[in-house]
Amino acid sequence: MKLMNARKKKDALFSLIAIAVMLVGLLIMELTMKSTSILFTVLKKSMIYALVAVSMNLLNGFTGLFSLGQAGFMLIGAYTYAIFSMPTAVKLGDSVYKYYDCTVNLELGIIPAMLLAGIFAAVFAALIGLPVLRLKSDYLAIATLGFAEILRALFQWDAMGPVTNGANVLRLYKDLTKLKIPFTNTPFPPTLFCFLVSGLCIAVIVLLINSSYGRAFKAIRDDEIAAEAMGINLFKHKEMSFVISSFFAGISGALLAMFQYTVQAAQFKTAMTYEILLIVVIGGIGSITGSCIASFLFIACNEWWLRFLDESSSNIFGLNIMRSGFRKVVFSVIIMIIVLFFSKGIMGDREFSWERLRAFSRKLFGTDARKRKNEEISEEVNGDV
């Protein structure tokens, strides 16, 4: 047992070092490379999607609630952030609110506006959760999808113009370029900021999942009747999971708004929820690390790695099949292959662990396998004492 604990401690230390190295590496890259590089765009967007995918996984993978409202909660987050972080001078001028007089005369800093984005999304989730969470499986999915669509229509509605600027674009709020290192005028590295905020939020979700609440969520996912018989209040826990998930979807919506400089309700369509769902499924339903890895792969393929397929200059057999949009075809085929051959996603319902990585590399290289095995046996013997 002691040996096992020692190994666990060592692994935790490893993880901390790996995270620190990653963040420092990112900082160095951001300071030395051109900030307009596609790499940073992909990294930022991946991290934002990783957060919303993990929040969706909390619902779908850990609580067993098949909800498709994620884009709606991101919409609330993005709009809340944009409206509240927009400087008052811009709101009063004609550059954004051209056809309406903005009625929200409050300007907040970046972090307070982000928190408010999460809180608004959470409050809305709490309200719609009351009727919706009494539904099960597909019905829940349809109802949440419906609410997300209603939200989009509502935000584009003319009567909401004084708040949301109707169907027009919101811009000139505090985006990633407005980030400053506290008490100085030096810009804060934007990619690092996305990593820090998303990483912190994901860490909170992981802590929640490993707490006794998380165990109750998983119990509900596995067997509602048994969970209820153990005295777990089903509705209360479902509502809790739904509200927390929506809070983080709202935060990721705020990050998305910061990332893309403009926000428009038309962007938050059902298709966006499906993209997030795809990330969750490819990563593995019920795996946080899976969602993160899949998010990076998905965004990188979608925005970067398959770009060359769109360049019409290359011909195959004299046929000009490589035209813009072709990457989407290849991308769909790749997704189909993944779903067919890895039906449980990249990670299944397991998490990344150093132990598994060691086992994998051992299998891959086969070096000193026997020696390691002997070590393990002796450890097991000691562990039983």
Binding site: R221, M230, I232
Partner: protein
């Protein structure tokens, strides 16, 4: 005999328009094993589900340790000391054995390590499998886990819904040995069974449910030799 720990008076339960339980009354004495036997659809499971608060009764009263618990929430009832082992085991298949046990103790705020040790002593097999996912256990082990999980809430009264369902005869005998063992350690047991033979041999007192009403009642060994019971439930 001592005071009844659980006292049911004139309990009626409806499902939709159907009367599943049509006014039954019975007592469970503290420290005893009491069984309800009866055919399919006699209302046994409905009775247990109503006592544990999963179903609300149409009328009647349920008094536990002197408190009226009729129509209370399951959480409150579990806190008071009644836990149900649901029919068909219903363990959490993707959680490890240990996690299953911790969910069983979900409502408790205190230290549970002593009770984990206690159930591992009762079921050494579970200790061997403590890091295994519940779904990978055999049927008998899953039933043990379901009982162990319920014991983790430290109940005064444990209710078991068909613990022998779908298990081999030898395993069933093991389960009944454990029921007696748990009872000997001071937990009152309310058991419902289709395996009337085993149930009557184990129980101190038994009630026979027939389509929502109590027909016969008596000490377990008495009913074993009762002609009516023999004909209807023991097949001889």
């Amino acid at each position: 005999m001592s005071e009844p720990i659980l006292s049911i008076k004139d309990l009626k339960v409806n499902y939709g328009g159907i009367e599943a339980v049509k006014g039954i009354s019975f007592d469970v004495d503290e420290g005893s094993i009491v069984t309800l036997i009866g055919a399919n659809g006699a209302g046994k499971s409905s009775t247990l589900r109503t006592i544990s608060g999963l179903v609300k009764p149409a009328s009647g009263s349920i008094v536990f340790c002197g408190d009226d618990i009729t129509g209370r929430d399951t959480g409150e009832i579990v806190r008071k000391g009644i836990t149900l082992v649901p029919e068909g085991r219903r363990i959490f298949p993707n959680l490890t054995v240990q996690e299953n046990l911790r969910v069983g103790a979900y409502l408790r705020g205190d230290d549970i390590s002593e009770d984990v040790q206690w159930v591992y002593d009762l079921f050494p097999r579970l200790k061997e499998r403590s890091w295994q996912a519940g779904g990978t256990l055999s049927g008998g082990e899953q039933q043990m886990l379901a009982v162990a999980r319920a014991l983790m809430s430290k109940p005064k009264l444990i209710m078991m819904d068909e613990p022998s369902l779908g298990l081999a005869p030898l395993v069933v005998r093991g389960i009944f040995d454990i029921i007696r063992e748990i009872n000997a350690q001071g937990v009152t047991v309310l058991l419902i069974e289709q395996n009337a033979n085993m149930a009557l041999k184990t129980a101190d007192y038994a009630y026979v449910l027939e389509t929502g009403r109590i027909g016969l009642s008596g000490a377990g060994h008495e009913l074993l030799t009762n002609d009516e019971v023999k004909k209807a439930y023991l097949g001889s």
